[in-house]
C-alpha cells in the first residue's frame, strides 16, 4: 500500500518528544521544547506503543485485542502518518 510507504517499519517516538500522563488534564500529552500537545485517548494508546520494537501491524493487533475491536488498521496508519508528518515519530 503506497500510503504506508512513508511510515517507518517499527515506529518510535522522536527524541524531541516526551509522552507523559498528566493527572490534572486527565490526559496523555506530548512534551517538546517549549510546547505541549494534549492527546485524545486513542492517539495516546497508539503513540505509547511506538517503541521502535513493534511493527505497525503488531501495534494494531495489540489494540484490537485490548479493546476487542476489528479493522482499526486504517485509523492506526492514519494517526501514525499524521505523527510522522508532525515529526512526533521516526
Amino acid at each position: 500500500m503506497p500510503v504506508t510507504a512513508l511510515l517507518p517499519e517499527r515506529p518510535r517516538l522522536s527524541r524531541l518528544y516526551r509522552l507523559q500522563h498528566e493527572p490534572v488534564q486527565a490526559a496523555w500529552v506530548l512534551l517538546y521544547p517549549e510546547g505541549m500537545v494534549k492527546l485524545n485517548d486513542s492517539s495516546a494508546e497508539i503513540l505509547r506503543r511506538c517503541n521502535g520494537t513493534l511493527t505497525v501491524d503488531e501495534i494494531t493487533a495489540e489494540l484490537e485485542a485490548l479493546f476487542s475491536v476489528q479493522g482499526i488498521g486504517p485509523q492506526v496508519t492514519s494517526l501514525l502518518q499524521e505523527g510522522a508528518r508532525r515529526g512526533w515519530i521516526v
Partner: protein
C-alpha cells in the same frame, strides 16, 4: 516520566472554579542579573532596583506547588539563569517532579562540566540566544564579546544530545541577515530556529525607534523564511514570530490572561505575564506570602483581565474576542494609558493611529543614543525608584 510527579502537601488541588483553567506553563525567572546588555531585553528597565532573589528552597516549593496545579512545562529563565549556582539542583528537582525542563540562556556560563551536571540532573532542552549571524553585530547588540563563546556552547549542547532551539531577536539591524542566520542555525545543528521579531517591552520599548524595521524589510525576511520552509526536508523548523506593530489584529497574548501562563519573578512576585509588574492597580502577590493555588485562582492580579468581563468597546462586542482576548494588556497600557483598552495594534482600536505613527516616524527619532541594558542605565531611568 509518567506518574512520577509528587503532589506537595502544602499545595491543595485547585478548587473547581468556573472559567479558571490550570496553569500549564511555569516560567521561573531565577534572576535579573545578566552578563549581557542587550538593547531589546524584555526585563523591566527598573531591574537594578529589584535585586532580591528567592532561595533554592523557595524555588523548590514554587515548583512543587505549580506542578500540583498542573504545570508541565517549566522554563528556567532570567536574566541569565546560569548565574544561579543552584541551577543544577533546581533542574534535578524539576525533573523529579515530572516537568519538561527548558533552559533559556545566552550560553554565558555553560562549560563542559556544567553541561554534564545539567544533563545528569535531567535537563530536557536548551534554548540558546544569538543576536546575529555576524560577530560584529552580535557583540555590538549584546555589548559583549560573546559570539564565539555562543558557537562553542552550541557545540556543547549538541554533544550532550539536547534538542536545541536557537533564538534570535529580529529588528532593523539584523533582518537583512535572516538567510545567514538560518544558515548558522543549520550549521550548528539547531532543531528549531525562533526568529522573534522584537516585541516592544522593557529595554526594547526604550530603544523602539532604533530597532523598528520597515515593512519592506519584514516582507523580505518572511519571504526568505518561506523559501527555506518550502525546500524538501528542511533540517531546521523555523518559527517566524510576527511583529504585531505591522499587523491589523493583536496577538493572543499569553493565550489569555490567567489562562495557561504563570511567571514568577526573581523576588517571588507571581505574574500573569512577564511585564505585568508595570501595570497600575494590579495586586500581584509574592509566592512567599500566599499559596500559589490561591494566587492563581483568587488574587486580584490574576483575575483582573481573566475572561472578558473587563473588556471595553471595541473588544466587548468583537466577534474575535475569544481568539485574541483583546491582545496585550501591557501594550494597551503603554500606548493608551489604560490597560483595559483594546491592544492598539488592532485596527479596530481608536488608538491604532499611534502605532502606525510609531512605525512611520521611528527614523526621525534616532538622534538619541541607544540604551544598553546596564545597572547604571536602569538606575538612571528609575531614579530613586
Amino acid at each position: 516520566m509518567a506518574g512520577s510527579s509528587e503532589l506537595s502537601p502544602a499545595a491543595p488541588a485547585l478548587p473547581a472554579a468556573p472559567g479558571i483553567s490550570p496553569p500549564l506553563w511555569l516560567l521561573a525567572e531565577l534572576t535579573y542579573r545578566c552578563p549581557l546588555h542587550c538593547v531589546f531585553c524584555y526585563n523591566p528597565t527598573q531591574y537594578a532596583r529589584l535585586q532580591a532573589e528567592m532561595s533554592t528552597a523557595q524555588w523548590v516549593d514554587v515548583m512543587r506547588q505549580a506542578r500540583a496545579l498542573g504545570a508541565a512545562q517549566l522554563g528556567f529563565s532570567g536574566g541569565e539563569p546560569l548565574l544561579r549556582d543552584d541551577l543544577e539542583e533546581l533542574v534535578q528537582e524539576a525533573h523529579r517532579l515530572g516537568y519538561y525542563t527548558n533552559l533559556i540562556t545566552s550560553g554565558v556560563g555553560l562549560n563542559a562540566a556544567r553541561a554534564q551536571r545539567l544533563k545528569d540532573a535531567g535537563l530536557d532542552h536548551v534554548q540558546l540566544s544569538f543576536q546575529d549571524s555576524t560577530k560584529e553585530l552580535n557583540d555590538f547588540l549584546s555589548h559583549t564579546k560573546t559570539f564565539e563563546l555562543k558557537q562553542k556552547v552550541a557545540r556543547l549542547i549538541k554533544a550532550h544530545d539536547w534538542p536545541m532551539v536557537m533564538n534570535c531577536v529580529l529588528h532593523r539591524h539584523n533582518l537583512p541577515h535572516v538567510d545567514k542566520i538560518i544558515d548558522m542555525a543549520e550549521a550548528l545543528g539547531a532543531e528549531y530556529l525562533e526568529l522573534a521579531n522584537t516585541q516592544y517591552y522593557g529595554w526594547a520599548w526604550a530603544n523602539r525607534d532604533h530597532l523598528m524595521p520597515t515593512r519592506e524589510q519584514l516582507v523580505e525576511a518572511e519571504a526568505v523564511v518561506n523559501r527555506y520552509r518550502a525546500q524538501p526536508n528542511p533540517a531546521c523548523r523555523v518559527l517566524f514570530v510576527i511583529p504585531d506593530y505591522f499587523e491589523e489584529r493583536p496577538k493572543a497574548c499569553m493565550n489569555g490572561w490567567g489562562s495557561v501562563f504563570l511567571a514568577v519573578a526573581p523576588d517571588g512576585t507571581a505574574l500573569p505575564c512577564h511585564n505585568a509588574r508595570d501595570l497600575p492597580g494590579l495586586n500581584l502577590p509574592r509566592v512567599q506570602d500566599q499559596l500559589l493555588a490561591d494566587i492563581w485562582a483568587r488574587s486580584q492580579g490574576f483575575n483582573a483581565f481573566r475572561g472578558d468581563a473587563w473588556m471595553k468597546p471595541p473588544c466587548s462586542s468583537c466577534d474575535e474576542r475569544d481568539k485574541d482576548f483583546g491582545g496585550c494588556r501591557c501594550q494597551a497600557f503603554m500606548i493608551t494609558g489604560d490597560a483595559a483598552q483594546a491592544d492598539p495594534v488592532c485596527s479596530k482600536s481608536p488608538h491604532h493611529a499611534k502605532v502606525v505613527e510609531f512605525v512611520r516616524r521611528a527614523p526621525e527619532h534616532r538622534g538619541v543614543p541607544i540604551v544598553f541594558r546596564t545597572d547604571s542605565e536602569s538606575r538612571r531611568l528609575h531614579p530613586g525608584g
